[in-house]
């Protein structure tokens, strides 16, 4: 303990690297927070100043809240992300378990399908999907927002890696204790896959909270708009944006994500240290 906490040269270098890196990575956010507090004419100036000359936070946030129905947006965001995440996990975990721990011939073929799914961007298949949802009259609703993402090949891929490392004997013990395969998945695999599930949760929620492309295609009624869709109310491509309010709105919809990450990373680390034993 004593030697650990001493400031050795190596540690100083490490800390310096980390801090410099953090500043670089945070720079855009620093600008964002600064801009959210500036009036429009204060943002683009020749002088580099991070502190707004007049504090305009109130006005910008007020504008963000007034121009956009933030409540609805955030609610939609939460509902959509939660539904997507729950379905993804429910679908992917049993599948990954079967591929990792059960012998069946289709596993190889499924691996190909999974990799294929990883490769195919939604941008490429959006059109056929759009046509399909339209013909089923499912546009403009949570179904359209959620359904295509209920299958996450990324989740299957991630869980597969994780489950492979779980000892076979654990599953054998569960079988002898009288659990069904579904019981094993829900009682043994899932509780021990917390790090993977949280890591995936972080990625899934971030991706779908911020996704603009697909909502743009399937949602044309403001009632179902997700946060980024609402953010577009500040965009006016032809003549520049209202940056202060845009940044304010961005902060509002980013904060839930940051909070979620802070919560999740704690569980994530706990999860790993708790299950990090060999048997």
């Amino acid at each position: 303990m004593k030697t650990r906490s001493r400031f050795t040269l190596g540690r100083l270098i490490r800390l310096a690297l980390l801090i410099i890196g953090a500043v670089i990575f945070l720079a855009p956010y620093i600008f964002m927070i600064s801009a959210a507090g500036k009036s429009q004419d204060d943002i683009f100036t020749a002088a580099l100043s991070l502190i707004p000359t007049h504090f305009y936070y109130m006005q910008n946030f007020a504008k963000a809240l007034e121009k956009v129905a933030m409540g609805t947006l955030l609610w939609n965001g939460v509902v959509v992300c939660a539904l997507i995440f729950v379905f993804q996990v429910l679908v992917a975990i049993p599948c990954a378990y079967a591929m990792a721990k059960l012998k069946f011939r289709a596993a190889r073929m499924m691996m190909v399908l999974v990799l294929l799914g990883l490769l195919v961007p939604i941008h490429a298949t959006a059109l056929p999907l759009y046509v399909a949802f339209d013909s089923l009259s499912l546009l403009n609703g949570y179904t359209a927002l959620v359904a295509p993402f209920t299958i996450s090949v990324f989740a299957i891929f991630l869980f597969l890696q994780f489950f492979r490392a779980m000892p076979d004997d654990l599953i054998h013990a569960a079988r002898l204790d009288g659990m069904s395969e579904l019981g094993i998945v829900s009682r043994v695999i899932v509780p021990n896959a917390w790090p993977a599930v949280t890591a995936f949760a972080i990625f899934s929620v971030v991706a779908h909270w911020n996704d603009l492309y697909w909502p743009l295609i399937v949602i044309s009624k403001p009632g179902y708009a997700t946060p980024p869709l609402g953010l577009m109310n500040f965009r006016a491509a032809e003549a520049g944006d209202d940056y202060g309010a845009l940044m304010a709105a961005t902060i509002i919809i980013t904060i839930p994500l940051v909070a979620a990450f802070l919560l999740a990373q704690k569980r994530f680390v706990e999860g790993i240290t708790m299950t990090g034993l060999k048997g």
Partner: protein, 387 residues
């Protein structure tokens, strides 16, 4: 009717045959110890018995029922895994409770959130935790029930794994080295608990161990498996005193048996002051091996008939002393086990005279088979060991 019966089980991984035509009949209530060197296929056999792995051929019958259609979960077998296989996310108490909960609670009652409000849940849970408490107390882990596996030492984990198996009333017990990580005192205690449980419940048990003391002291019969074959299956005393194969003799007995080369001449084998007449006619060749356990090697006055040897090393083991002596005549090492009192005054480098009890010696054919022989008493002319 036997409680558990295997017939001609074989299993290969790839080209390598791990189990070769293993058959085994366990009458109700019998305790079988399965011993054998590391990697000989013991765990594999248990896994096949439990339905966790599948034999390439052969048949398993438990309680009169053919098991090929029964999944592991349906066989009602309790098993202690060599690697413990505790659920890392559950406390020790919860780990032990799992098999009971799976059997006593209905599938509705097992549901999260909903289960606990089902009728009857409380009563069953109380029963379960009483049983868990009881088993834990027997294995001296009742103070650990709230800990998770990560917070326990190896020995403690192993006892939890044992408790998880013992808490049930299965139709067969399978235990894979369940006490290997305990210190000697704990091991003796746990051994007693297992024997006690077995006597009370009368459940047929197959017990894998690499500790001979366990195998010999606990089992009704000991099965010695070497290289995927079951070389002998017999009561402990027979395994020790009357091994059917040189490998069995070599594997059982601590310190290990002395094996010395000898020749058959005119139907008799001679070594040192021993002389034995072979009962069987014709071994594969004249070169046989004589086996004699260290406790039957004695120090003798050097009267010409005993073998002079040089003490190379002495091992003090508390209640006994092991002498490593190199025979002057043939350069082989012979072990002798003495009481500390007998060994007093001896030291490495000294020369002693060794004598063997011919009625305790065994003769093995070149292919390892045991050859029956009887001691020939002193009247026959004495001769030096050849070679």
């Amino acid at each position: 009717m036997s409680a558990l019966s295997l017939s001609s089980i074989s299993k290969s991984y790839g080209d390598i045959a791990i189990l070769k035509n293993i058959s085994l009949d366990v009458p109700p209530g019998e305790f079988i110890a399965l011993v054998g060197p590391s990697g000989c296929g013991k765990s594999t056999l248990l896994r096949i018995l439990a339905g966790l792995d599948h034999a390439d051929s052969g048949e398993i019958v438990i309680g009169g029922r053919e098991m090929s259609d029964v999944a592991a979960a349906g066989r009602n077998i309790a098993m202690v895994f060599q690697s413990y296989a505790l659920y890392p996310h559950l406390t020790a108490g919860q780990n032990i409770a799992v098999p009971l909960a799976m059997r006593r609670l209905s599938s509705l009652q097992r549901l999260p959130f909903l289960g606990p409000v089902m009728p009857g849940y409380r009563a069953i849970r109380t029963g379960i935790s009483r049983d868990v408490q009881e088993t834990a107390k027997a294995l001296k882990i009742d103070h650990l029930l709230e800990r998770k596996p990560g917070q326990m030492s190896g020995g403690q984990r192993q006892r939890v794994a044992l408790a998880r198996a013992m808490v049930r009333h299965p139709s067969v017990f399978l235990m894979d080295e369940p006490l290997s990580n305990l210190d000697a005192n704990l091991r003796v205690h746990a051994r007693g608990e297992i024997v006690e449980l077995h006597r009370r419940a009368g459940v047929p048990t197959v017990y894998v161990t690499h500790d001979q003391a366990e195998a010999l002291s606990m089992a009704d019969r000991v099965a010695v498996m070497i290289g995927g074959q079951m070389l002998q299956l017999a009561p402990p005393q027979v395994i020790y005193d009357d091994p059917a194969h040189i490998e069995v003799a070599r594997f059982v007995g601590q310190p290990r048996i002395n094996l010395l080369p000898a020749r058959v001449e005119y139907g008799t084998v001679a070594f040192g002051d021993m002389r034995m007449a072979l009962e069987e006619a014709d071994p594969a060749g004249p070169d046989v091996t004589i086996g004699i356990r260290p406790e039957f090697v004695r120090l003798a006055a050097d009267d010409g008939s005993s073998l002079p040897a040089c003490i190379e090393r002495m091992e003090f083991l508390g209640s006994e002393v092991i002498l490593f002596c190199r025979l002057n005549a043939i350069g082989e090492i012979v072990l002798a086990k003495l009481a500390p009192a007998e060994a007093a005054g001896l030291a490495a480098g000294m020369t002693v005279a060794l004598s063997f009890a011919p009625d305790k010696a065994m003769v093995f054919a070149p292919d390892g088979r045991r050859l029956r022989a009887s001691a020939v008493l002193a009247d026959a002319g004495r001769e030096k060991a050849h070679g």
